[in-house]
């Protein structure tokens, strides 16, 4: 691989709760290049917190040896530097457009704002760019949609608006956190196709966070399997059947298969012993 876009070393995120400190992410390391990296895990595995920690947007306590992006250590950088990177260089698509869009502003204005933060564009230019962007994410009648409020658009359209908003400044790396989980099955594929096209056309890096192992394997080049805040295994997307870790195998076995008769679905095996491998199987490509 060429020089990676993002290099994460020994990242931990922890939260203080009345029950004591909860470690959401426990010292993971990975790299992302101009590729599609999938992060898979069940809820609570720390996959979302990993994505947010990269942008410095988790409410928890972040510790890391290094979160290096394009030669800048994001973990130690001043707030101003990070703000200049957010949106412009690294962007993030959230799960549910019903909550992730500001309810009292028109969607068009919100897209234009994303453009104007990082450029000196006038309002007119920003609006024109936003309209073009709406066309790019295959929205018909962009002029009409521009003036709508978030509660007036459907989930699928909302998520396309989200994609437009996050891609308009032309970032190098995009983090998609369960971008289709809140959508109807019928529109999931549409939205994925749009995201796929745009990432390909613009040569961006992508971190795709999901609980759906099969979706990720069909969409990404490489997959990190997370459990309990650690990386259990790193897999090439085409080589799912070569998975070695019992947890990954468990995940795969949970899926019903039409060719394989099964009495009952197996319960996912969990083993406390996995939690003690400090550093995990993370690190470089196997």
């Amino acid at each position: 691989m060429d020089k990676p876009l993002l290099n994460v070393e020994n990242l931990s995120v922890s939260f203080d709760t009345p029950k004591g400190v909860v470690e959401a992410v426990r010292g993971i390391s990975f790299q992302v290049g101009q590729e599609r990296l999938g992060i898979v895990g069940e809820s609570g595995s720390g996959k979302s917190q990993t994505g947010r920690a990269i942008l410095g947007l988790t409410p928890g306590r972040v510790e890391a040896d290094r979160i290096e992006f394009d030669g800048i250590n994001l973990h130690k950088a001043p707030a101003r530097t990070i703000r200049a990177i957010r949106g412009r260089r690294i962007s993030m698509i959230m799960q549910d457009p019903r909550y992730s869009l500001n309810p009292v502003m028109t969607v068009g204005w919100q897209i234009a704002e994303a453009y104007r933060v990082h450029t000196n564009a006038t309002k007119r230019e920003a609006k024109q760019h936003a309209l073009d962007m709406l066309t790019t994410v295959r929205i018909r009648e962009p002029e009409k949609v521009y003036g709508l409020y978030p509660h007036q658009v459907s989930g699928g359209m909302g998520q396309r608006i989200m994609i437009a908003m996050m891609l308009i400044p032309g970032p190098d790396l995009i983090i998609a956190d369960e971008p289709t989980s809140a959508l109807d099955v019928t529109v999931q594929l549409q939205v994925l196709a749009i995201l796929d096209d745009m990432v390909r056309d613009r040569g961006m890096g992508l971190i795709f966070i999901s609980h759906d192992l099969h979706l990720v394997s069909s969409f990404c080049d490489r997959i990190l399997v997370m459990y309990g805040g650690q990386i259990m295994e790193v897999l090439e997307a085409g080589a799912l059947d070569q998975a070695e870790h019992p947890y990954t195998k468990g995940l795969l076995n949970c899926l019903p298969d039409i060719d394989r008769q099964q009495g009952t679905l197996p319960v996912l095996r969990r083993d406390d012993a996995w939690m003690n491998r400090k550093g995990g199987a993370g690190g470089d490509v196997p």
């Binding site: 947010r52 947007l57 309810p103 704002e113 933060v117 908003m165």
Partner: protein, 360 residues
């Protein structure tokens, strides 16, 4: 004064409920709304009717007083229609109110409505100034506290807020008079204006600040303004505390929303995230709160007016109360009640205009 947090929450919830239930047409919504206002008005008059005419052992005596002659007593008995069935009495009472007839005050021997028109501007002046203070100080304080949640500044603002709605305002007014009038002599004592200025300015609106300014009597304007400082500050203490508290709580709610994360991901500065994104949403909710504050200040001025000898509607009601002037008490209560409902209806309409979610 005692309208507080949860009341506001319920009102907001009520507003939210209506707007969420996806009404088929706007016309229907307006009709429904108008109907519920009408019902509230009927209920309001029914309650005052019960208080004034049904609960007293002898409502005639309560109105004319025990010094009245037999003829006056009988005339009043017939005028009230006490020989008729209760429901008919209520309808007469209601139609009288609709015609602006609240009866005659024994204390002033004038129609109650005339008295109210004369006393009301003073209360309006006081409550308006206090609300303006409360809005312009309370909102920034609330935002500041929410943004610094858990830090020292948050605790300080919370304590100031707590003080504002825990303190008996009439007591605070007395202490303030003791310090700033009797002690330091910085501000004038009770009253609306110095005695020697009385009656110089022609009462057009009844609001002295406005009248004196319009007639170019700046000396009187300044004098009136000085008199206004203490009583308005007392009411503003409550307004400020309440608005700051609600702003903080709304702001915290909004800052935990996902769209705030979106705004940060975009690379916006903290100022833009807070004021452009979160505060816009807070403002929508605050409209209801500001309306509630204003309405409750119209009412809450009762005790403040007593302390500062402020000739407003509150003082009118309490003095009438001690003179057993039932017509005046009930009339004043109905008018304040109507204002209260009116302000809330207005803020509700404004809320609907501002919040895009309630448009369709």
């Amino acid at each position: 004064m005692s309208q507080d947090t949860a009341n506001a929450k319920t009102t907001i919830e009520a507003a939210g409920r209506i707007s969420r239930s996806a009404l088929p047409s706007r016309l229907f919504a307006i009709t429904k709304h108008g109907f519920s206002i009408l019902l509230t008005f009927v209920g309001l008059t029914a309650i005052t009717f019960i208080i004034g005419r049904v609960m007293p052992a002898d409502p005639v005596l309560a109105i004319v007083g025990d010094r009245a002659s037999n003829e006056v007593y009988e005339a009043m008995r017939l005028q009230l229609g006490l020989d008729k069935p209760l429901i008919q009495q209520y309808l007469i009472y209601l139609s009288n109110i609709l015609q602006g007839d609240f009866g005659t005050s024994i204390m002033t021997t004038r129609p109650v409505l005339d008295d109210i028109i004369r006393f009301f501007p003073a209360t309006l002046e006081l409550a308006t100034i206090a609300t303006i203070f409360g809005v312009f100080l309370g909102i920034p304080m609330g935002v500041l506290a929410a943004v610094n949640q858990g830090r020292l500044i948050d605790h300080v603002i919370r304590i100031i807020g707590l003080f504002g709605y825990s303190v008996p305002i009439f007591w605070l007014g007395m202490v303030a008079l003791l310090i700033f009038y009797a002690g330091l002599g910085w501000l004038p004592g009770p009253g609306r204006i110095a005695v020697y200025y009385d009656g110089i300015v022609e009462a057009r609106s009844g609001i002295i600040l406005l009248d004196s300014a319009l007639q170019g009597e700046w000396e009187i304007f300044w004098n009136a303004l000085h008199h206004l400082v203490l009583p308005a500050s007392m009411l503003a203490t409550f307004a400020l505390a309440y608005i700051a508290r609600m702003t903080r709580s709304f702001m915290l709610d909004q800052l935990n929303q996902e769209y705030i994360l979106t705004a940060r991901v975009k690379g916006l500065s903290e100022g833009a995230v807070i004021w452009r994104h979160a505060f816009r949403n807070v403002l929508v909710q605050l409209i209801t709160i500001i309306g509630l504050t204003y309405a409750s200040l119209l009412e809450g001025s009762v005790l403040t007016e007593t302390i500062f000898a402020w000739p407003g509607i509150g003082q009118y009601i309490t003095t009438s109360l001690f003179n057993a002037d039932m017509n005046a008490v009930i009339g004043g209560t109905v008018v304040v009640g109507i204002c209260f409902v009116g302000v809330n209806v207005l803020s509700d309409i404004l809320y609907r205009i501002v919040d895009p979610r309630s448009h369709d």
